[in-house]
């Protein structure tokens, strides 16, 4: 049996929804456990006081990348069936900018706002409401936006294609970048910890047991 299971028709829509729910709950639980439901912790990223987000993101990237590469190499996962989102340069740059401004302002990204909302944080609820309004508005006005959406298409780009290196070399480069990034992040955090005394007040934890919904990032 080769993965991806849904793509290869091993289980139908219902099985996929159950799997998505289970994975989503686990994902939300882990985010909350890592403290990612807190806007203060996430905003610390932008003030270089708390680089947890950077470390969590890069850990996830490296874990998923090594997993995908080696499972593919061992024949457990058929990488040709894994969907690679297409690149549309200008619209995605603009989208990334809007996303970043929202992230810095609200202190939460889509996935973590769902976690924050599920644990009863009001800022999380507000962000989820805003996110869905945005999704709805984009859907309603899509005909007007469509031409912009389709500008500067680059196809399904991957790092190995872009850098003209073999897949394995790209994997090694990303791992080295991540490990280097972790070292730098730890240095910055250590510097902040010694210079800022007393330590920043512990964030007010209003965390109830994470009643997490299966919502992806």
């Amino acid at each position: 049996m080769t993965a991806p299971y849904f793509e290869l028709g091993y289980f139908g829509a219902r099985g996929a929804l159950v799997a998505a729910l289970v994975i989503g709950i686990a994902f939300g639980w882990c985010l909350e456990s890592a403290g990612m439901g807190s806007a203060r912790k996430l905003a610390g990223q932008f003030y270089l006081t708390d680089l947890t987000v950077f470390k969590v993101m890069f850990t996830a990237i490296v874990t998923a990348m090594l997993g995908a590469f080696w499972l593919g190499r061992l024949g457990v996962l058929d990488l040709t069936r894994v969907y690679v989102p297409e690149t549309y340069l200008v619209p995605q740059l603009v989208g990334g900018l809007i996303f970043g401004v929202g992230f810095a302002l609200g202190g939460l990204c889509p996935g973590t706002s769902c976690v924050a909302a599920a644990t009863g944080r009001l800022d999380g609820v507000a962000l989820v409401a805003g996110m869905w309004s945005g999704v709805l508005a984009t859907g309603l006005f899509f005909p007007a936006l469509e031409r912009f959406y389709e500008r500067t298409p680059r196809g399904a780009l991957t790092l190995p294609q872009l850098a003209h290196v073999p897949y394995g070399v790209a994997v090694l480069l990303v791992v080295l970048a991540a490990l280097g990034g972790f070292l730098v992040a730890e240095r910055i955090e250590a510097k902040v910890r010694t210079s800022v005394t007393p330590a920043a007040p512990d964030e007010m934890r209003r965390t109830v047991a994470p009643v997490v919904e299966g919502v992806g990032a």
Partner: protein
């Protein structure tokens, strides 16, 4: 001390990631398609048993029955596809074969103008691990000839049965079945012995297909 243990775990994880990363360039390509081999003997047996293709009438029946998982794939150029294609057919670019979003259990039916390209694509798709792959042996030409314009071959009982089955399928797809192309009204029971017709010899497919497409398009199909 939990801090010391945490540090140890972090180091161990980092070392594991580094080791897996260092081995990655030496591991070769992770894409399954690159390891896929063609089982020549098995494919040859399939071809010998004539299980590699469908006739136009079989395909017409499948489309009419809405066979679950059926995907009809047109491997001709976009212009040709736009001009005319089989009902429910999707266009499939040959150069994008390696990254196709089909399910393992889909029934894939390929067709091209005459059949050569579809037969080649059949080999590729089998090599990629799809099992329910067929091609339309006579291509679009066969579809136009057998489904859109079926004609009565002779007056024997089996031929008449076959014609009436083909005719009902043909009408479903908006075709024009003819029991005789010259003079008689379309009544199967009084069809004359099938005289050799100009079109019964195999003409150059490209030209004839083009003319036939024009005829079908004029009928507003």
């Amino acid at each position: 001390m939990s801090g010391g243990r945490e540090r140890w775990v972090t180091r161990a994880l980092a070392a594991t990631a580094l080791a897996l990363g260092l081995l990655a360039p030496l591991a070769g390509s992770p894409y399954k398609a690159n390891h896929s081999t063609i089982d020549v003997a098995a494919l040859a047996r399939t071809v010998a048993r004539e299980e590699d293709h469908v006739t136009a009438l079989e395909l017409a029946q499948w489309i009419k029955d809405r066979r679950p998982g059926l995907r009809v794939l047109d491997v001709r150029s976009p212009e040709e596809y736009d001009r005319y294609h089989l009902p429910t057919a999707e266009r499939l670019a040959l150069d994008s074969l390696a990254t196709l979003p089909f399910h393992a259990d889909d029934t894939l039916v390929l067709y091209s103008e005459g059949g050569a390209h579809a037969a080649q694509a059949w080999v590729f798709l089998r090599a990629l691990g799809y099992h329910n792959v067929y091609f339309l042996r006579g291509g679009l030409y066969e579809w136009l000839e057998q489904v859109m314009n079926p004609t009565l071959a002779d007056t024997t009982a089996p031929a008449r049965d076959a014609f009436s089955r083909a005719a009902s399928l043909s009408r479903y797809f908006g075709g024009v079945p003819r029991s005789d192309i010259r003079t008689l009204p379309a009544d199967e029971s009084i069809a004359l012995p099938g005289a050799p017709r100009a079109t019964s010899t195999v003409p150059l497919p490209a030209r004839t297909t083009s003319a036939r497409i024009d005829a079908v398009r004029r009928r507003g199909c």
